[in-house]
Subunit: 256 residues, 2 copies
Amino acid sequence: MPRLQFRPAAPPMSNPLILKLQQCCELDADDIARLEAITARTRRVPAKEDIIREGDPPTDVRLVLDGFACRYKLLPGGKRSIMALLVPGDFCDLDVAILDRMDHAIGTLTPCSLVDIPRATVNELTERRPNLARALRWATLVDEAILREWLANMGQRASDRQLAHLICELRLRLHVVGMAPAASFRLPLTQEELADALGITTVHVNRVLQQLREAGLIRLNGRALSIPDVARLEEFAEFNPDYLHLNQRSPAARPA
Amino acid sequence: MPRLQFRPAAPPMSNPLILKLQQCCELDADDIARLEAITARTRRVPAKEDIIREGDPPTDVRLVLDGFACRYKLLPGGKRSIMALLVPGDFCDLDVAILDRMDHAIGTLTPCSLVDIPRATVNELTERRPNLARALRWATLVDEAILREWLANMGQRASDRQLAHLICELRLRLHVVGMAPAASFRLPLTQEELADALGITTVHVNRVLQQLREAGLIRLNGRALSIPDVARLEEFAEFNPDYLHLNQRSPAARPA
DNA sequence: CGCCGCCTTGACCACCATCAAGTGGAGTGG
DNA sequence: CCACTCCACTTGATGGTGGTCAAGGCGGCG
C-alpha cells in the first residue's frame, strides 16, 4: 500500500464512530475529518452514573466513544429494565430534541468517554454533508431494529438462547468498531445488569452462563469472553445478523 | 360558533393522521390541507395479508388510515413475534428507505385502508413545511418509545399486568384518533395475536383475560372491550402515559 | 349440514423466580 | 500483615407462573 508510505505515524483508524458509520456509506476524507473534529473533545464519566435522567429535557447530542452504557427505566416495583446497550460509536439521543422530556434514562455501566455535540453542529453537518445525514439516520434505524430484535428475543426464546443471542449481537457490534478481534472481547456487565437486560433474574443468568460454558459455546474467565466456534453459537442462538444492516455499501465484504 | 355557520356539511375532523399529528404541533390550515390531499387516495387490503415482507427493498411510505396492522417476525422455530401494533394514523416505514432491506414484515390483522405515499412527496413536504417535518419525526420517535415500553412491559411485568398495560396503551392511542370514546373500543385481535405480541401462549391469554374480567378491570363481549374504571386499570397495569408524548403543544389539555 | 377458526377448560409439568446461605476477591483500615 | 467489609458470583431448596398437550364448545359460513 504505497499510498500509506509517507504517513507511518498515522494510527490505524480507531475512531469507533467512523468505523461504524462506514458500514452505511463510503465516507470521503472531508466527512472523516469532520467526524474526527467533532469527537476530539471527550469527557470522562465514572461507572454506574447517569448521563441523562428520565424526565430531563433533551439537550445536546451525546455520543459514547469508549465504555459501555445503557438505556434503562425503573419500574414502580423497583425493578430495572435495560432496554439498550450502548457501545463505542453509539449515540444517546440523536433525535430526542423533538420530544419534550426523556421517557427513559441513560447511564454508564463502565467508565465512559463521552462527547457532547451541540445540536447546531449536528444540524449544520447534516445539511452540508448528505453522506453523513444518511449515515446518522441509518444509525438510528439500526438502533430501532435492535430494539425490535430484543423484543422478539425476549418474547419468544428460552433464556439460554436469549443470552446466547445477546452475546452474538454484542460480538458483532464490537467487531465493527474494532473491539472484538478473534471472537473474543471484554464483557464488562455484571450478571445483574445482564439479568435486567434479558428480563430474567441474576440467579438464572448465573446458571445459564454455566450451561453455555459447559456446552462449550462460550469461554469466560473474569470479564473476558471468548467464543470457540462463532458459527455454532450463532446457530444455537438462531442469530441472523441482517437486522444490524452492516456493510450496506458492499454486501460481499461483511466481516466474518 | 358562527364561523362554522356556513359549512354545515363539514364533518367533524376524522382523519386519524391529522388528529394524531396535532398531538405534536399546532398545524395550520395549509398543513392540514396537504395532509388531507395526501390521504385522499386509499387502498383496501383484506385481513391477514402482508403489506411488506421481510427482505423486501423498501419502497413508498405507507400509512394506515383504517384497521389494525402489525410489525412481525417469524422465528426459525415457527413462532411469530409481533413487535408493534399499527392503528389508524400510524406509518409503516417512514424512514426505512435508507436501509437495504426490511428486517421484519408488516401485515394486516383486520381489513385495512392504506395510503401509499411516494417518497418524493414526503421529502417535498418535509422541506417546505417545517411543522410537518417536526410532526413526522415526532411520530417515529413515539413509535420507538412504544417499542421500549413494550420491552420493559414484557421483561418485567407479570402477564396479567402486561396485558392490562397493552390495553391501556391501545385505549389511549385509539382515543387520540377518535376511536375510543368513553373508554370502550373494538379490540379486533384474536387471542393468538395478543399472545404473539405479549410473548405468552394463547391458552394463557385466555386465562388472563378472564382474570381481568373477573376482577372487574375490563368488560369484554365479542370484540367490544370496555373499561369500567380507567384509573383503576391504569394503576393495576402501572401505566404511565408519558412515553406516548401526547399533547406536547399544550400539556394542560391532555384527554382524560 | 358440516367444516373451520377461535375460544374455553382441564391436567400436568418445567422453567425460572424466590429465598437463603455461602464463597471468593478487591479494597480498606487497624 | 491480617481482619473486615463489600460486592459480585455461586449454589441449593422450594414453589409458582406460565407452557404444553389434549379435548371440547361455539358460532360463522360455504
